[in-house]
């Protein structure tokens, strides 16, 4: 019932070569084969966004993508955001703004918003809410997440202006 393929993939800057089942999802590959358990499954049907990672910079649902599809690609997960203990401005803003409660959806939201902010450096609140609408959070009511993203955009803008 199982059929395997060899893949090579860069995850958070590190190269891996593995033989994987063709039906293994990218999310399971990250969690089970590489031990990167920061990526969470919330629905396994592409609706909740909790498992979002970036593949070649693009935010994708790792429950809907197969590991073999990531062959020769570069993947970034939640574990690849911070440099050691130094949080990114987005992660820091989530902490400052109490933008997470249980934290289960947070990795997917951070990965989604990281991509969003790169493409939209000066978003409005409506833009942020729209971009966030593919991620479900049951704890926060979203408001603190929206505020954290807006604060990050502001921080990054000030950083650019200063530079």
């Amino acid at each position: 019932m199982t059929d395997t393929r060899d893949i090579s993939v860069v995850v958070n800057g590190k190269s891996y070569g593995r033989a994987v089942d063709t039906r293994r999802t990218l999310g399971d590959f990250l969690r089970l084969d590489l031990g990167l358990t920061g990526t969470h499954f919330g629905c396994e049907h592409g609706a909740c966004g909790a498992c979002t990672v970036r593949v070649d910079g693009v935010a994708v649902r790792s429950c809907l993508m197969l590991a073999v599809q990531a062959n020769e690609k570069s993947v970034q997960t939640i574990e690849g955001l911070a440099k050691g203990d130094i949080l990114t401005p987005l992660q820091q803003a989530f902490q400052d703004r109490h933008a997470l409660q249980c934290g289960f959806c947070t990795p997917g939201i951070l990965m989604t918003m990281a991509e969003f902010l790169e493409e939209n450096p000066a978003p409005s609140e409506a833009d942020v809410r729209d971009a966030l609408s593919g991620n479900i959070c049951r704890c926060t009511g979203y408001q603190n997440i929206v505020d954290a993203v807006l604060q990050t955009a502001d921080t990054l803008r000030k950083g650019r202006d200063a530079a």
């Binding site: 293994r24 049907h45 574990e79 955001l81 409660q101």
Partner: protein
Amino acid sequence: MLAGRGRFVDDIVLSGMYAAAFVRSSQAHARIKSIDTAAALAVPGVHAVITYHDLPAALRERRLPLFVPHPTLTARMQHALAKEEVCYVGEAVAVVVADNRYLAEDAVQLVEVDYEPLPAVSDCKAGAQAGAPRAHLDLESNIVSRMLSSVGDIDAAFRGAKHIFRDEIFQHRGGAFFMECRGVIASYEASEGALLVYVSSQGPHRIKRALLDLFDLSDTQVRVVTPDVGGGFGPKGSFYAEYAVIVACAMTLGRPVKWIEDRRENFVATHQERDQYWDVEIAVDDEARIKGLRGTLTHDNGAYTPWGIVLPWISVATVPGPYVVPAYHLEMRSVLTNKVMATPVRGAGRPEGVVVMERLMDRVAREFKLDPAEVRRRNFIQPSQMPYDVGVIFRDGRKVVYDSGDYPACQDAALQTIDYGSFRERQAEARRQGRYIGIGIGNAVEGTGLGPYEGATVKVATNGRITVSTGATPQGQSHKTTLAQIASDQFGVPIDWIRVETGDTSKISQGIGTFAARTAVNAGSSVHVAAVKVAAKAKTIAAKLLDVREEDLELRDGYVQVAAIPGSPGAASDNARQVRKSLAELAVVAAGMPGFAMQDGAEPGLENTAYFTATQSTYANGTAVVEVEVDIETGRVTILRLVLAHDCGRLINPMVVDGQVMGGVAHAIGNALFERMLFDDQAQPLSTNFGEYLLPLATDIPRIEIVHLETPSPLNPLGIKGAGESGTIPTIAPIIAAVEDALSPFGVKILEAPITPQRIVELLGDAALGRTR
């Protein structure tokens, strides 16, 4: 959490661990004729396929535990795996254990269960009628409990009343839909008879209790650990069949076994709330003051009764709310249906009670052509009437006695914030532009901090570190921060000096868990009491060592030192540095020395365990006021503003409380506008993914405006009331009211929740044609 270093159950990997997947009933009600497991067992990598008959004897003999029995209840509890009858779609019939989940799921597909379908009860109202099919073959009636809540002379109240208004109200609340589905790992060390269980729960102690009883084990044999939990909202407080089955698998196979629920299973097998039919009438005098309220509640209990009648009971006890209701007579019927069990979800039946009362308040206002806010004002319990005995019995078995609160002030605060006074002008102006906006008010009183207790141990280790251990278990409520904050107040140290341990039965012997907005009240009070005692003991020991008076000492920055003398700060601080003892030194002294007697017969150790016991629930209150716009073409509802004024007593951490409130409000918005678990007439679930069951998204939730009032509770040392559900409970009612208000030019009446766009368009059409349905 932010860096991907959280540790949820599915992140835990034990050596040699197998994975399990369940075979679940595809039938709402059926007899199991046979189960053929041969093909599944033949799959390479499959180690076992277990049905009821393969379970350990202890588990075959027992049914799952009933958490809250009640004299009126005909209990129906399930076996860990169905024996010969299945009573809801999703009921566990068999389990497959394999090398990994992929293989286990392959094999699940190969297990053949031969069912003889039986008539199913899909609707609780139909199920309550004579001649209805039975939800279980051995039941005489689907009505498993009838309970009357009665206050005052209801007949006299209605006999003398000039104005009586009656409404039938249908309410549906969906499930919790925490983002992390359930999960459990069991590991059994046969040589020591030691069972270790990791489970995503709201309280490991109750899970442990259930396992002790089911498997006939002694207390020291079982350790249950709850690691990080991805949301709970009520249903993770239940004990589930899967937990018992996975433990049985681990015992049988001698390997650790993991089961992680997938989202489809979550829709059919995790407890949820559901349908309530209310038929109520209210009697008022010429001044619109309530004389009496009576009626019936028919409650959909689902297939078994793990929480007894807790849910409908809370609904019934919540109805009177912040109003003076001199006579009350509510008959509750809890009905078994062939659906997954209905047990508390955030709010736990309270939002439904609030909707009933607030719909009636709005009805009275409409009949009297009075401002809805004014009708409520005329009926509020006044602060001077506190403590106020409502007369009904709450589910903790005690009378509902509100301890404190200022309900008129709370409503006023909310109305002022939303600029209620100008709304009718704004509404008229909007209508001139062809826009339909409406406003609604919801008031609620919420029993919080339910007993019996939640304990806490506060301990200073010999290295000076302070640890707080409690049975309360966070699922994102920032309990650790809140409890550390309470302890740090006594020790004069920053909160990050305090380590809070939760969710492990090996850390504290007794625990109840997190539900009913009880942790800050119970565990918070225990932490306070224990920390006060430990701090006092530290002072006692230090006073002896330093030869000073205890009352001259203070705790600061990890030391017990002579307190600064007012007026001479410099001298005092010099003095303090010389005359002080670190908590580490004091803990060493308190631990005692081999061969030496304890000083003055003191108890060893710089630690204390307190089990704070509340004498009764403490009652928080809130007012939600909501402004909506309804698109009459599409039925789409946009929430323009939402103000929540609430009073949860003394606030420990406003940011945490605000976070709880905002999340709770979002849940209420889902309940009011989106969330509907659908079943067909044979009780087959029709909404089993997030495309069919809609949760509120960032684009659906407005910016929530929160106003805090602080009336400290006299019932606990910190004056706290619960906050975890305060956003949800008052907020469904005003959303429904606001939609109705927006559509008032069309004469639309809304006596149901949730109210979807499709239903709004239907109601508009009916109103235009003069129909009701």
